[in-house]
């Protein structure tokens, strides 16, 4: 059995009397992408802060690459990459200078800054100061910075936030490539499409607790219901019908509609991760 890249057991953190993380447990294997989903204040950022050595856990235990995060091991931090939600770049320095500076903190003598910038489509802006970059370009810089030390574990907080669809798709491809080379990825996102597309497994976190953890497919099977949405011509207007597939009760009606001249469109419907989250927690992901 492959040793987990991230292993979390009963992890807790309290801000004074407020318990932000209430004993969560999960593992992330090398090459796996775990989507970490939850609304603001659910405990996602606090968990990532503990796992990246920024906060000492109040209780429980966690290891990253075998290193105890509580001791804030420099060796662990040398092998992780972090993409923060806030664009915390040195804006008076160029893209290349930013990467070279961070590479020097990892002890990398001749970093391939140009190569990393090429991966995120910023090679032609390598010598430009970051303050001249658009929001999307800064986001791509954040991704490139997380890659500069060729990490074994990536913590990505909203990595495609603010990107146009084409660039976002390119970044998702890059993240998938990292996972394919064996990097464990903890991905925090509000984008359900992104989570569904990228994540091998998804953890729903709410109120400091993990309320569900499984593959997107299993979650949909466990908490969703299959149905077919049918649109029919009805006089001068259009009428919709939803037919459940799970109990077989709509088989006859489906067969009837399939040959009906009134039939306009017929689509299968499945539960989205957002619907499942709402079903589990009674609240949306955006809040």
């Amino acid at each position: 059995m492959t040793e987990a890249a991230i292993s979390v057991q009963g992890l807790r953190y309290s801000y004074g009397d407020l318990e932000a993380v209430k004993g969560i447990s999960f593992d992330v294997a090398p090459g796996e992408i775990l989507g970490f989903l939850g609304p603001n204040g659910a405990g996602k950022s606090t968990t990532i802060k503990m796992l990246t050595g920024q906060l000492p856990p109040s209780g429980g235990s966690a290891t990253v690459l075998g290193y105890d995060v509580g001791t804030g091991s420099s060796q662990m931090q040398a092998r992780i990459g972090v993409c923060f939600e806030e664009k915390n770049l040195y804006v008076t320095m160029s893209a290349k200078e930013n990467l070279e500076f961070f590479a020097s903190l990892y002890g990398i003598k001749n970093p391939d800054a140009d190569g990393v910038l090429r991966r995120v489509g910023l090679a032609d802006r390598a010598t430009d100061r970051v303050k001249t970059f658009s929001k999307g370009m800064r986001q791509r810089m954040m991704i490139s910075r997380a890659f500069i030390n060729t990490p074994d574990v990536l913590f990505l907080d909203e990595p495609t936030d603010g990107l146009d669809p084409t660039t976002a798709a390119a970044i998702r491809t890059t993240i998938q490539e990292e996972a394919d080379r064996g990097v464990a990825v903890l991905l925090t996102t509000h984008d359900m499409f992104e989570a569904d597309q990228l994540s091998d497994r998804v953890a729903f976190i709410n109120g400091g607790e993990i309320v569900a953890l499984d593959t997107p497919e299993n979650l949909k099977l466990a908490y969703g219901s299959r149905s077919v949405k049918v649109r029919l011509r009805d006089g001068d207007g259009v009428r919709e019908e939803n037919l459940p597939l799970d109990d077989g009760s709509a088989s006859a009606r489906l067969a009837e509609l399939a040959t009906s001249p009134a039939l306009l469109t017929m689509h299968t419907e499945e539960a989205t991760l957002e619907h499942i989250f709402i079903q589990l927690t009674g609240r949306g992901l955006a809040g």
Partner: protein
């Protein structure tokens, strides 16, 4: 991939990055260069000599012999300039050609010897200290007694002048020399703004958070900021002292030690202001709020003997006092050891507070 990176290498990287950021900030580059040039120019524009001669303008008729004798006998410290008319004399005083003017009326000699009270007009510019005018008025009375052939109405006591400390008669400290410690202190202060701004940016933009998820520790960050702040402020001060040719073999060690203490003190202040700043203007305001009161003791250097007890109790006083003693009066280690000790104590307190405040801020992000 396992890599090992030494703590000094991490600190050096952060310091290099800080100087790169500083070099990209045109405002602080401008302020640094302006401060250096302005202070150097000011220093060289201020006179480096002190005129100890009292120049008195005189308008008189029939007293030539007396004033020739006075001019000859009081060659040291008194210069007499004769004017043909009262209006000319008044204009000369007004223009600053002479400090004080004495206009003796026609027939002064006859009137004085006859026991009358002739009126002598004393002209003085508004800027002339009243004690100088008073001394000249006393001189007029002595001249009157001399002309009438009488002695003074009192017996002159025997006088023995004892000057405590260095007798600077004929060797007064010039305004240029007096200003030097103040200029050095000001240049130390100026760079505090650049440091506090840099720290505030690190905290507000949370770039420090990105640094601290690498192998860099909080202690590396604090060490780097200490080195950067000390090099920035101390370097500027040393540069100014070099430009002003203030270093000698005798004072080199003391001056470097004093500048180092000043630089560390302002680094601590920069850390406090930078940690507390919410934006550019609040950081600027906070830095000024800490730094401006520390300027007060510098004025005691310009006006020796004026430092009140509370001024001497200020953290900046021992540093300014040491700079003054060394730069102005050529003091050695043994003369300033007390001031240096007090400076070290204050610097330690301020710097430790700065470190603790910044560490707390960074850990709270």
């Amino acid at each position: 991939m396992n890599r090992r990176v030494s703590r000094p290498a991490i600190v050096a990287s952060i310091v290099r990055k800080d100087f790169t950021e500083f070099s990209r900030d045109l405002l602080y580059i401008f302020l640094s260069v302006l401060g250096l040039v302005l202070f150097a120019v000011t220093y060289y524009l201020v006179p480096d000599t002190v005129d100890e001669t009292l120049t008195v303008g005189v308008h008189q008729t029939g007293l030539d012999e007396l004033f020739d004798q006075l001019d000859a006998s009081e060659a040291d410290g008194l210069a007499l300039v004769q004017y043909a008319g009262g209006d000319e004399l008044a204009a000369a005083v007004h223009d600053g050609d002479v400090m004080v003017g004495l206009a003796f009326p026609e027939g002064f000699l006859e009137a004085a010897t006859a026991g009358e009270q002739p009126t002598v007009t004393v002209y003085s510019d508004a800027a002339v200290p009243p004690e100088v005018t008073g001394a000249v008025q006393s001189m007029v009375r002595e001249i009157a007694y001399a002309l009438t052939g009488h002695g003074l109405p009192v017996t002159e006591p025997a006088e023995e002048s004892i000057v405590l400390g260095i007798d600077r008669a004929g060797d007064q400290t010039s305004m240029r020399d007096l200003m030097l410690p103040m200029l050095v202190f000001f240049i130390l202060m100026i760079e505090t703004f650049a440091l506090s701004s840099l720290i505030a940016n690190e905290v507000l933009n949370r770039t420090v958070t990105a640094v601290l998820v690498t192998p860099a520790r909080v202690s590396d960050f604090l060490t780097a900021k200490t080195i950067y702040g000390t090099l920035l402020t101390g370097g500027q001060a040393v540069l100014l002292l070099l430009v002003l040719q203030a270093f000698t073999l005798g004072n080199l060690g003391i001056l470097l030690a004093t500048v180092l203490l000043g630089a560390v003190m302002f680094t601590g202040i920069g850390m406090i202001a930078g940690s507390a700043g919410k934006d550019f203007f609040s950081t600027l305001f906070l830095t000024m709020a800490f730094v401006l009161p520390l300027m007060i003791p510098t004025f005691s250097v310009l006006f020796p003997g004026t430092a009140a007890g509370w001024v001497q109790a200020m953290p900046s006083y021992p540093i300014i006092d040491t700079l003054n003693e060394v730069l102005t009066y050529g003091a050695g280690w043994s003369d300033v050891v007390g001031s240096l000790g007090a400076a070290l104590a204050w610097v330690t307190v301020i710097f430790v507070i700065g470190l603790l405040v910044l560490r707390r801020k960074v850990r709270s992000l």
